[in-house]
Subunit: 282 residues, 2 copies
């Protein structure tokens, strides 16, 4: 079973492409929806959360983990590879940023714009990865903090979405290629299309690269029955409801992985408390 | 010195009112901007963060702490009072929700609408507090996740803000009074005004109540020189820049309180790392 990890729902747009490209593989998706969004968090917090998520997926039997979240890939991928996929390990961790950079460099005529979370922009990882491939490509990044909430509200087809995309594209300036640096943004594809820049969603290219990678490294995941399974750290009902829009299909049962004392704790604790919560001393 | 605590910048709209009402008091504001927004987090995480913030303020000499954040007040205030302000303690912790509920009940003719974060809505605390004061008042709550990012982008006076407010007010239905249940929303007052409902910002009433409270409990804060000081857990430069719009005035120096290993750590660590961060094993 291949594990996909995202801070919330967005990575389901990646899961969709991976399922299309690898219909016979078993896939398990973990969305850390109870702790999303990661964007405003300290990098060390993101590293902690990402370690816990990878350990959760490895504990479920995944030998191949795909970090579908741009923010996590940008700040934590190297750490995760160092910690879990070093020499002698039978686990591999792949991210979304190198496929993203490659697909942008393939598409561009010289000037790539990147829209992403503030944390992804601050990491400069997309700039670094694009310049590794072609130092002559100009890269302009911009944080677009309204776009993910617009998608989560289901307002992709509203005037609000159109105006927000207008503002962000105006602020990016005359780029010829637009890299969607957050897994929420493919749901805004209708708003981005026809505005001038070639729009690049890294997910289809990531799925293509994953097929090639598995041909070279078949030992990390045997073909299965195409089963999909899901876990999340937030409200599973909400996850299934919102997630279906990102996946483009209904989700089966979503298993709850609660966060207790800052750690992910598989199990099925009481429902989330309502109102004032008073804890005993410690 | 009176301590004010918020998850980020929003509470500066409360500080502004407290300073106006109590011009001779020393005020220290702590914004947990490096861990904001709290909205999507687990309640136990919010309790942890709130404990750390109160301990930080008490450590700076505050005997009176005002929780200016609606989300924290709604889920954690009773816990904070139980833990820090119990019998025999010389510390008091006050929140924004009871003044908010009181000002809404004073204003309404029977139907209050509350716009707030998803976490505040889920807590039902505003419904509970309003019904304690008058069980006959109808309360309709709605999470408005776009409004805080619109304010943080500085887009309060745009068509995007107008359309988003339209949608949220339409979804609230025919309320006669609108309670602004998030400290960001007073910056959207021009958008909310003239739409029908009487708009209630809890902050001026909270400041009035604080003046009365200090008259009854002078031992918790002696008059000072009207000094303002600031600390935050995120980027202090960004805090000062964004914060000035919420305060309505330039901020003096902002002291950094870093989060390390999940705890607030007063000090002055290295600047935030850029790009991939690889930590050693543990």
């Amino acid at each position: 079973v291949i594990g996909l990890y995202d801070s919330g729902f967005g990575g389901l747009t990646v899961l969709r492409r991976v399922r299309d490209a690898l219909p016979d593989r078993d896939l398990h998706y973990f969305g850390d929806s109870g702790r999303a969004p990661y964007g405003g968090r300290d990098v060390h917090t993101i590293l902690d959360f990402a370690e816990q998520a990878v350990e959760h997926l490895v504990g479920r039997g995944c030998r191949l983990v795909v970090v579908a979240c741009n923010t996590v890939s940008c700040v934590a991928l190297r750490h995760l590879q160092h910690r879990y996929a070093g020499p002698g390990s039978d686990v591999r961790v792949l991210g979304v940023t190198i496929p993203g950079a490659e697909s942008a460099v393939r598409a561009t005529r010289g000037h790539v714009g990147v829209l992403a979370t503030a944390r992804t922009v601050a990491s400069h990882t997309y700039v670094t990865e694009i310049h590794k491939l072609d130092p002559s490509v100009r890269v302009t990044q911009l944080a677009a903090p309204l776009l993910a909430p617009i998608v989560e509200e289901g307002w992709e087809d509203t005037e609000i979405a159109r105006l927000a995309v207008d503002r962000y594209l105006d602020a990016l300036g005359p780029v010829d290629t637009l890299l969607l640096g957050c897994t929420h943004y493919p749901l805004l594809m209708d708003q981005f299309a026809g505005r001038g820049p070639t729009v690049v969603d890294p997910a289809p290219y990531l799925a293509e690269r994953l097929v090639e990678w598995l041909e070279r490294h078949p030992q990390f995941d045997p073909p299965g029955t195409g089963a999909l399974s899901f876990s999340c750290s937030g409200d599973p009902e909400r996850f299934a409801r919102l997630g279906s829009r990102f996946l483009g299909a209904a989700l089966p049962e979503v298993h709850l992985v609660a966060e207790v004392g800052g750690r992910l704790l598989p199990g099925d604790p009481d429902a989330a408390p309502v109102g004032q919560v008073v804890r005993g001393g410690r």
